[in-house]
Symmetry: C2
Subunit: 302 residues, 2 copies
């Protein structure tokens, strides 16, 4: 019981800290200029500050701190990953994509501003992520920076998030089997979650061959995360989720849920979390936060 | 006369070579996958292959070759810059932005495919640019790669192209003076042209303080390029330009042309080109191609 209690407060504190820290760094890195770009930066700030669970920066920092990486350095890299995540939500919410009205409990960016500004703010946050990582403030060592940039580029493009989103568009009108849905989700959501863990390890100077167990952890929580998202979409409360729910069913979209049914999906998510935790078996207490994040991923309600 | 003739054929050959080489490298780097991402990659290829003057890769390679950089290395970096340019055209052409129907003489991407695919293909080309530059195939030296990434990130984001595009949106409804229009164009078009020259110099291991004259050259041709674009928009032929013309006037948008009038604008462009060429005074014949590009920029009809 004592261990559970410590782990719970470890997670609660880490979630609170990362939310505060990510907001503060976005605020510092995105001052509103005194010219006609002001509206663009206000739009970027509207989308980037004050919303979201910040799971990706949390994963990155939790991994990095296992290897003694400075918290501020890990935060900078985490903000870069979060900027990619935020830009993808902005573009995903556009009328020509998911046409969503609500995000993190407030109107989506194209409704709060306008569509053209939303497209541009997404593009500017995309470039911002790469600017942050190429800045020596992350790390003077150019090899580390270029490895971070490479991991993030690969995870966000064709072989990652954007590729997965395209498969997701196609999924609305095609019949995909379970392996294809798994692949879709590994790209769409999994790649950026995995990159967060990977980038924490890169900052910790863990050689590529020493990251296998971390990759296993990341892959498993990525799929568990998506199943949890599907369950929230089906059973969640829009007020708690801060976004529209019931969308997958309305769109007739195939998901883990439609293929497995809710009971097997829930069981599968639990199994994946256990498996994720088992990848960390060689680590001691320093991996407790990663273990807690794995459990949180399927217990969250938003 | 002989010199002019040599310079002309130097430019003509270089324009032809870069067009062929850029197409070939996009083709090699963007194979169509055998899964549901196929449509996304086909859209990326539709926009990236077989169109455009390839001024940015040409500038990058012409600068790099002054310092003995391998042509294929310069091409890779040039394709990264061109990917950013292409993604910006795709997003610019969207109905919520300029709502254009014609680009490089064929239907714009959102008409040839659909809006959602166009948004995603732009995003994927954006990430692709950073993937190409972080790959050791460009340069094994991580410092060079990270400097390239930094130059491109800065030129494409808030402090570059995306910032300029936002100012451009605002320009449709605000009254800007000449210094503000100049600033707008330096960000919107100039930043990426300047980054092309800068990246050529980075590949050539020219120290930042040794790039001042190249920055002067790039800044001047950037503004000349925009004035030429304004003139094409006002006086050009859509069939030759491969895109709609007369748009600025229809939108009541302020440009160099509306502020200066056509005669002074043309004179200003010529002056900028002379000034650009004068920045190269310390170079010999190895800078002939950069000189020829400067002249071409205001003589082109598309």
């Amino acid at each position: 019981m004592a261990v559970t209690h410590v782990t719970d407060s470890l997670l609660a504190d880490a979630l609170e800290e990362i939310a505060t820290d990510v907001d503060a760094l976005f605020d510092a890195l995105l001052p509103v200029p005194q010219d006609a770009r002001a509206r663009l930066v206000e739009a970027m700030r509207y989308a980037a500050i004050g919303g979201g669970k910040r799971i990706r920066p949390l994963l990155l920092r939790a991994t990095a701190q296992m290897y003694g990486v400075d918290r501020d350095v890990a935060l900078r890299a985490g903000v870069a990953v979060e900027a990619i995540h935020v830009y993808s939500l902005i573009h995903d919410d556009l009328p020509c994509m998911d046409d969503d009205a609500l995000r993190h409990g407030k109107p989506t960016l194209h409704l709060a501003f306008d569509e053209a500004t939303a497209v541009l703010a997404g593009d500017a946050l995309h470039a911002f992520a790469f600017e942050v990582l190429s800045d020596p403030a992350v790390r003077a060592d150019p090899f580390v920076r270029v490895e971070l940039l490479r991991a993030l580029g690969e995870a966000s493009g064709l072989r990652g998030m954007a590729g997965g989103q395209m498969m997701d568009l196609v999924a609305e009108t095609s019949h995909f089997d379970l392996p294809t849905i798994t692949r879709l989700q590994q790209l769409k959501t999994g790649a950026l979650l995995a990159a967060s863990v990977e980038m924490g390890a890169i900052l910790g100077h863990v050689a590529a061959e020493g990251r296998t167990h971390l990759r296993g952890y990341a892959r498993d929580i990525g799929l568990a995360f998506q199943i949890a998202d599907d369950l929230i979409d089906r059973e969640g409360d829009a007020a708690v989720a801060g976004k529209a729910v019931g969308k997958d069913e309305a769109a007739g979209k195939q998901t883990f849920l439609t293929l497995l049914g809710p009971d097997r999906a829930r069981e599968q998510a639990r199994m994946l979390v256990d498996q994720a935790v088992s990848h960390l078996a060689d680590h001691g207490r320093e991996a407790d936060l990663l273990r807690a994040i794995a459990r949180y991923i399927i217990e969250r309600d938003h």
